[in-house]
């Protein structure tokens, strides 16, 4: 018998005996068929292409280009130094500035990034985690300077630190302080910015190797960990659950992906209603964005990737997700070119406007196969979630390395299966073109200009020189004192923007809370930060011994 990627056995034919009770209509608990009764007839999914490289100015131009092409939301890619709170002029940032995203070192950079883009109308998703509190504070301030009211600011910060430990690795603080910062941001944001998603619980486990059922299981387990942290603060589930959002990966295993999303919605709704006691249907709904692409795309014969992302995007359209990023066919090479970025957006538009998939809610609902596979996926996801529970929950399973080990094992198994030919990858292990096409394909490669890095470094250095050092220092000291206590840190991070210290750079802010346990960290940024850091180091030494 054949199996799916999650190891679920698949029969040659399905019939009425394979399915149980038909699920309730879309928009009804447990939302197997979709979180809204009318789904895309009410609002099409948001087409949100991930973009960002080089300087704020370059990214601003790409954003305007994408909006001009009919994109409906922005998705901001930030470079690794920004993700890790390292200034562009820091030696540690060398070679990385502006590479995998745009470099944002100060409020001025954030303002320039959105010049001419009305933040009251366009929503922005920021893929930012460890430094999410800082980037959100900057974004809010940039929006306010445009005259946008708090209740009009909309978007998402990824702010999911658990997947950094499980799969991605870009964390700054150990797991508990990371959880504190992430949940501080959620708690603070749900009170003030009613249209902003303070977290996007993300499934990078999949791109690191997990199978689809495990991907959903780990991600929902992470969701549970955040919910439990917020409940432990005394918050009611209904005060924050409606603002939790998710982010998944979709590959070419079409039917299993559809079943994964239908099963995931069902499990999340039951958890929120039955386990966490949420009363509002809004709290039960699993709202999700996704990426089509990632590890499913190949370096060999890159144009084949357009076929892959088309199928993936169609799978998502059949699954009823809220926001879609379709990767560009050259993703395995470099930053997308305007052509590849536009083509990726066109893939979404073809699916949305030519296939007529958006005319019917849950178009695969009632298929013997899809309903049966949804049930089997629910069982498989539930099994993995139970294994995590047995290990003391997701935080504990991450701390012990259990999750990471399992993902690595899966990645190894998958690679072996590809090399043995058990899993087909067209153009790689099947139907591969012999000869020239297997050499590196000739592609136009966009890369961030070295000038971008120099410009970013100069800008940061100028901010450091021109700010009022004494006031910046005072604001940082206040923040640092708050960090030693138990209170919510997000207001302190945000409040210091309103003072002249608003020009404090990203790195200073991150380092003010970076524990001295990080061995790679060197105390080498000039200016006011140095004195502050000395005091911080002493405090760290005291508390860590």
């Amino acid at each position: 018998m054949s199996t799916t990627r999650s190891g679920i056995e698949v029969k040659p034919v399905y019939g009425p005996d394979d399915v149980g009770q038909p699920p309730p209509p879309p928009g009804e608990y447990p939302f197997t068929r979709g979180i809204h009764p009318n789904m895309y007839l009410g609002k099409l999914w948001t087409m949100r292409q991930y973009a960002g490289f080089g300087t704020p100015r370059e990214t601003n131009q790409r954003f305007k280009y994408l909006l001009g092409q009919g994109q409906t939301g922005l998705s901001l890619a930030l470079d690794l130094p920004t993700q890790l709170g390292i200034d562009a002029d820091d030696p540690e940032a060398e070679g990385e500035v502006g590479k995998v995203g745009v470099s944002i070192g100060s409020l001025a950079d954030m303002e320039e990034l959105f010049t001419g883009i009305p933040l009251g109308k366009v929503s922005t998703s920021m893929t930012i985690n460890a430094t999410a509190p800082i980037l959100l504070a900057m974004y809010e301030e940039a929006a306010r300077k445009q005259g946008v009211a708090d209740d009009r600011i909309s978007g998402t910060v990824q702010n999911d630190l658990l997947k950094e430990f499980g799969a991605r690795g870009a964390w700054l603080f150990p797991i508990e302080p990371s959880m504190r910062l992430a949940c501080d941001l959620i708690e603070d944001t749900v009170k003030r910015l009613p249209r902003f998603n303070p977290i996007s619980i993300a499934s990078h486990y999949r791109d690191a190797g997990a199978n689809p059922a495990e991907e959903m299981a780990y991600t929902l387990c992470a969701g549970k960990a955040y919910v439990e942290n917020l409940l432990a603060r005394g918050l009611a589930a209904d005060s924050f659950a409606p603002r939790l959002s998710f982010f998944f990966y979709t590959y070419t295993n079409f039917f299993e992906e559809v079943a994964k999303y239908r099963a995931g919605r069902r499990i999340w709704a039951r958890l929120l209603k039955e386990k966490y006691g949420a009363k509002e249907p809004e709290s039960w709904r699993l709202r999700a964005a996704c990426v089509c692409g990632g590890h499913s795309l190949t370096r060999a014969e890159p144009l084949n990737n357009i076929a892959r992302t088309t199928l993936e995007t169609f799978a998502v359209a059949c699954s009823g997700l809220q926001s879609v990023f379709t990767a560009a066919y050259d993703e395995a090479f470099a930053i997308p070119t305007e052509l590849s970025a536009r083509t990726a957006l066109r893939v979404q538009q073809v699916v949305a406007y030519e296939t007529e998939v958006a005319q019917t809610v849950d178009p695969l609902g009632g298929s013997y196969f899809v309903e049966a596979l949804t049930d089997r996926m629910e069982e498989a996801i539930g099994k993995t979630m139970a294994e995590i529970d047995e290990r003391g929950g997701f935080v504990e399973a991450l701390r012990s390395g259990y999750v990471q080990q399992r993902i690595a094992q899966r990645a190894y198994e998958h690679q072996r299966a590809v090399e043995k030919g058990d899993v087909a990858v067209v153009g790689v292990n099947k139907f591969r073109t012999v000869g020239e096409a297997h050499e590196e394909p000739e592609m136009e490669i966009t890369s961030a200009s070295p000038e971008a890095a120099r410009e970013a470094a100069t800008r940061v250095a100028r901010v450091k020189k021109e700010r009022e050092a004494r006031k910046a220092r005072a604001a940082l000291r206040a923040l640092s004192e708050a960090a030693a206590g138990q209170g919510n840190l997000q207001p302190h991070i945000r409040c210091s923007w309103e003072s002249p210290a608003s020009t404090a750079t990203t790195a200073v802010r991150a380092s003010s809370r970076r524990p001295c346990a990080t061995p790679a960290w060197r105390w080498c940024t000039p200016g006011c930060a140095r004195a502050f850091r000395r005091s911080r180091r002493r405090r760290c030494r005291k508390t860590s011994t």
Partner: protein
Amino acid sequence: MQEDVDVIGLSILSGAHESICRRLVEELKKQKADIPVVVGGIIPAVDHEGLRALGVAAVFGPESPLGAVVETVRALASGQPIPENARPAPAGIAATRLDHTAICVKDIRASIALIEDILGQKAAHEEYVPAQKVDAAFFDFPNGASLELVCPRGNAGLEKFLEKRGDALHHLALRVKDIDAVLKRLDARGVPLVDKVGRPGARGHRVAFLHPKAFGGTLLELVEAHEEPST
């Protein structure tokens, strides 16, 4: 180093491989630590040789076979040479195609007329290239390759060539992606070069010549295509 590592493996997907590897290798040298470094990730083939020139023992791009990675690391850890089948082919010039073949001629008008007559092919492009002090004419073939006629107008080297050999095949031109990076790599390997950086050539391309000694007496030209505006 404190943990007595045998091999250092880096996984870099951000595009910063050049800078990270350079800093790591320098630091290892400074510490007098003889630990082999291997790198994997999204690393374009054109960068592989540059990384090896820095002292990186092996580079694995996307879709590298697992077995080759394992064997390489195992060999490096035990001080054995990397097995031949695990060794990725050297990137070399990494030409993407033959750009053109050039014939040096005394009388470009007469030669154009001759080729138009014999090949039944019109000259697609003619220009004077000031940086090279030559007249050039191109006949383009449907597969993208061209035949170039080149005629000196103040270019002493070509005049000497004509004196010695008369009208004759002069050079092969290969299309490359990042001409300055390729030249830098070749130079680092001690390949004799006429030009160490790209110079303006015909059709707005940037070009450079290798010394004939570099390639068994045949003159090679490298061409980095001028980006044509997309229509």
